[in-house]
């Protein structure tokens, strides 16, 4: 099952590039370090290539990422392609890059109403071409930010087009939430407009918050001068924990892999609940990995408390929060990678108190396993959850945007490109509904 990725805007292209580099790096891990048989390792590598790359039969050809790159200015795409080529291990497909000269200037309406429709035909042609290269298309993954104009505006528009063109494909949008302050002044408007529109076409949104990622960089990874590259690496580590192959026993004796569709069907069963977050453990700098050992019991205990206390990372979890006070999840997917996978007790994650009373108890949790070692962690666990955790940030974004909108500040910039005030109000309505739904879980 293959996934076509769409990298949109400066942020989307940087994250996408980082992800493919990470995937390739993972397949290159020495056999002595992966803890599986050569045959299992080969199957695994095959599965990674099958999902994310197009490999030609001719020897000497590098694998090509199944990706379409879109940006309204050339700089970011050129840089990302250059870095891929420099690695010598993979590359982007030729002529699947769409860029123009003038950016969207942080204006969602400029991206959505002007750049998007103007570029639709060519971009959809590229997407079509990329989809046709897949034997078995499972869905599309889009990388974009919420703050800027291109990623958010064009990204939203293209997602809608993809939904129309491929109504049966699964759509997952990975969105990067901006820092709460200092990047772009109109970021809250852009975020509100993007999320509300995506809610109507994507199957789910995977939310990554820059503020939390920044904390992970400084506290867990001990990076002194944090740049966007470091933040993107953390994003990719989380994504790879989810996307790399793993298996689950759906019915006894019948195993399925963690394909995009399989996971989304499980995690986003209802149209009101589409926000996903990833929590992973452990996470540390490479130098500390050597000195650390873990037991599954301890890891999962921490991970569960991260879920209950809504902590973004393993450090500084509030252990006082009890299960009864916590917010419930709609669904969880647990992916375990590493040694000693047999006999792990995951029953704590299927505790009915974690889920709303009306949900079906035996379908709340799905657990995938992969014995191959990931990123040099002996054992590591990744949890994708559909719960209330993004609502705090969402609430504050709506608050700020609504406050600004009450004074009608900056709205003329959007009206100029054909967006009405009613469109704003509609977007607010959609998101208020989302907040209310999650609060009722």
């Amino acid at each position: 099952m293959s996934v076509v990725t769409l990298q949109i805007g400066q942020c989307g292209n940087q994250v996408g590039g980082q992800l493919f580099a990470g995937l390739i790096e993972d397949t290159q891990t020495k056999l002595s370090q992966v803890n599986v048989s050569p045959k299992a390792n080969n199957d695994y590598i095959e599965a990674v290539y099958d999902r994310f790359f197009t490999c030609s039969d001719k020897p000497g050809n590098l694998p090509e990422a199944k990706a379409v790159m879109v940006d309204m200015e050339p700089k970011a795409i050129a840089q990302t392609c250059y870095e891929a080529k420099k690695s010598g291990l993979w590359k982007y497909p030729e002529n699947q890059q769409f860029y123009q000269k003038r950016g969207s200037g942080n204006n969602w309406a400029h991206g959505y109403k002007v750049h998007g429709p103007a570029a639709e035909e060519r971009i959809m042609g590229m997407i079509q071409k990329e989809a046709e290269k897949c034997d078995n298309l499972s869905g599309f993954m889009t990388f974009m930010s919420l703050a800027g104009g291109t990623g958010s505006g064009v990204g939203t528009y293209i997602t809608q087009c993809v939904k129309d063109e491929f109504p049966h494909a699964f759509l997952l949008n990975q969105v990067v939430w901006p820092y709460s302050m200092g990047e772009v002044i109109v970021q809250n408007y852009n975020a509100v407009l993007t999320l509300s529109h995506l809610y109507q076409c994507a199957d789910a949104m995977l939310v990554m918050e820059n503020d939390q990622l920044h904390k992970i960089c400084s506290q867990l990874l001990n990076i002194k001068k944090i740049g966007f590259k470091d933040i993107n690496k953390v994003i990719c580590h989380k994504l790879m924990g989810v996307l790399l192959p793993a298996l689950t026993e759906k019915h006894s004796g019948y195993e399925t892999s963690n394909s995009l569709g399989e996971m989304l069907e499980h995690l986003a069963p209802m149209p009101d609940y589409k926000l996903l977050t990833i929590k992973n453990i452990p996470q540390m700098s490479d130098t500390s990995k050597v000195f650390s050992t873990y037991q599954w019991h301890g890891l999962l205990k921490h991970l569960r408390q991260m879920l209950i206390a809504n902590a973004a990372m393993e450090e500084g979890i509030d252990w006082q929060v009890r299960l009864e006070d916590s917010r419930r999840s709609l669904a969880n997917t647990l992916i375990l990678r590493g040694k000693e996978l047999d006999n792990i007790d995951t029953s704590h994650f299927s505790d009915p108190r974690l889920y709303p009373s009306w949900s079906l108890q035996d379908t709340n949790l799905s657990v995938y396993r992969q014995p191959r070692i990931f990123s040099n962690y002996d054992k590591c666990a990744t949890l994708i959850t559909n719960n209330k955790s993004p609502i705090v940030s969402l609430n504050s974004v709506i608050d700020k945007a609504w406050n600004m909108f009450s004074s009608r500040a900056y709205t003329h910039q959007y009206v100029k490109h054909g967006l009405n005030e009613e469109d704003f109000v509609d977007s607010f309505v959609v998101l208020e509904q989302v907040v209310a739904s999650y609060n009722n879980l």
């Binding site: 200015e73 050339p74 700089k75 000269k101 003038r102 950016g103 200037g105 942080n106 204006n107 104009g149 709460s180 302050m181 200092g182 990047e183 772009v184 002044i185 109109v186 001068k225 944090i226 740049g227 966007f228 709506i398 608050d399 700020k400 609504w402 406050n403 600004m404 009450s406 004074s407 009608r408 500040a409 900056y410 003329h412 910039q413 109000v425 607010f428 309505v429 208020e432 509904q433 907040v435 209310a436 009722n440």
Partner: protein, 488 residues
């Protein structure tokens, strides 16, 4: 990459323009050592094959071709010959395109109506042609920078006429105006009339205006001159605390430029250099690489919350670099503090004690995101932001520092303090207007009506009103509308 065209009008506009092109060449020469015609150079310059009579453009291609002959993307307009013809005789003549030039001999006589109504209609076709010529050489034209003064006749009159023309013919191209406002002791009696008449046009037609006051420039120049070692040395001077000023680092300096030798420096040059640096710093993030680029369209998007309130107060720091290269980090923090002090503004104003609607920090040189975040945290408690935009910061990081400095900061603020400057101007206008002094000079000009005066005054009044209404919200925050309720 996008291109910009500079339209310089009148004596003041052309003098600033002259300094701008000179310093732009100096900046690119410093960054671009091997003389290639690259993307950043293409934003303000054409590379031409000057062997032809009408020099043809050498395409940018991969950005690796050699520079043959550079032509500024400039349009020069003046209704007198003096300044422009002097530029055309000087060392910069090679840079300008003679086909993008318009002069007359008689001048506009410090009369907005003569510039705007008479010369405007007379030269409309011609102006339109030379601007189109400049625009057609651009591959993706993003912005017009219009430079002119507000007090005189040509700058304010023809300058705002051109602004109208640009809005009509290039509605999608941004229009940034750098307008030099007259000082209180201005020698032109009619300057308040000209300024107010011109301001109506700026309010209606420009996307963004950077008002500059001569008084503020003068005091900045004095501040720098006090720190600079005297040129003619008799005794050796030992300077006080911070050490000596590094040569060529002051933002008023001409060092390393093509045109000016120290001996024939003109009195306004150091003031104009400050304005030229403002333009360079503002466009640096669009021209050079950096980890957080700010394109020109992002400036208006982030700083203009309401369409008419597009007057931005600017400040630059440091004014010069000390020769001592061992920089303690607090000097970097000092740069941020200085930029918010009233002594560093290019307009006599005090933004710190008024209300910010939005603020952009455009940083150049070796400054990291974490430095900027630290300083925002530090400065924020002492600044007032409007209640719906308490986190209204926009940051840009450009990795190429200005010539002679290792880092620099340009702040652009949409601040309500500007209504004080506008009120001063209005008072001066009303003083004349009450007695109908000099009005007949204006109404004699064909097309000029008395209603032009009253409507311009009205327009100015409403701008003042809008800014001061917002300022009142500083201590008197109106109750916000409740958020939408969802029926569950």
């Amino acid at each position: 990459m996008t291109q910009s065209v500079v339209v310089q009008v009148g004596q003041c506009g052309n003098q600033i323009g002259c300094r701008f092109w000179d310093l732009a060449l100096r900046e690119h020469a410093t960054v671009n050592k091997d003389g290639t015609y690259d993307e950043s150079l293409s934003s303000f310059f054409r590379n031409v094959d000057s062997r032809f009579d009408d020099p043809t453009d050498i395409p940018l291609d991969q950005g690796t071709g050699k520079i043959k002959s550079l032509k500024a993307r400039a349009v020069l307009v003046d209704m007198e010959e003096g300044v422009v013809s002097e530029m055309m005789k000087g060392p910069l003549r090679e840079v300008f395109d003679f086909k993008q030039l318009l002069t007359d001999v008689s001048g506009a006589g410090n009369n907005w109506a003569v510039g705007h109504k008479m010369y405007g209609s007379q030269y409309r076709e011609h102006i339109s042609d030379i601007i189109r010529r400049a625009a057609e050489f651009c591959d993706c034209l993003q912005c017009f920078f219009v430079l002119h003064s507000m007090g005189g006749g040509t700058g304010s009159g023809v300058g705002t006429f051109i602004l109208n023309l640009l809005e009509e013919e290039y509605p999608d191209v941004y229009r940034f105006v750098t307008a030099v406002y007259p000082s209180i002791d201005d020698d032109v009696i009619t300057s308040p009339y000209n300024s107010v008449l011109a301001m109506r046009e700026l309010t209606e037609k420009a996307d963004c205006v950077l008002p500059i006051e001569n008084q503020a420039l003068t005091s900045l120049v004095n501040k720098i001159n006090q720190a600079l070692p005297p040129l003619k040395t008799g005794k050796r001077m030992y300077s006080n605390v911070g050490g000596e000023v590094k040569q060529g680092s002051a933002i008023t300096t001409n060092d390393g430029s093509v045109v000016v030798k120290p001996t024939d420096e003109k009195p306004f040059d150091s003031m104009n250099n400050i304005v030229a640096n403002l333009l360079l710093n503002m466009t640096s993030s669009a021209r050079f690489e950096g980890s957080l680029n700010v394109d020109l369209n992002e400036i208006t998007m982030n700083l203009v919350p309401f369409p008419r309130l597009h007057y931005l107060v600017s400040s630059q720091s440091p004014l010069y670099t000390l020769a001592d290269i061992h920089l303690p980090p607090r000097r970097l923090d000092q740069m941020f503090s200085d930029a918010f002090s009233k002594d560093y503004q290019l307009l006599k104003s005090d933004p710190k004690h008024s209300l910010y609607l939005a603020c952009a920090l455009m940083v150049r040189g070796n400054v990291e995101v974490s430095d900027v975040r630290r300083n925002i945290e530090r400065l924020k408690p002492n600044l007032n932001f409007i209640h719906w935009n308490t986190e209204g910061w926009k940051t840009g990081l450009c990795s190429v520092p200005p010539v002679g400095q290792s880092y620099s900061l340009l702040t652009l603020a949409n601040n309500t303090c500007i209504h004080n400057n506008f009120t001063d101007l209005k008072d001066r206008f009303v003083k004349l207007y009450k007695r109908k002094a000099h009005i007949h000079h204006y109404t004699h000009v064909e097309g000029m009506e008395m209603s032009d005066f009253s409507q311009s005054l009205e327009s100015l009044n409403s701008i003042i009103q809008e800014y001061s209404d917002l300022e009142k919200q500083m201590y008197n925050i109106p109750a916000s509308e409740p958020r939408l309720q969802v029926v569950t």
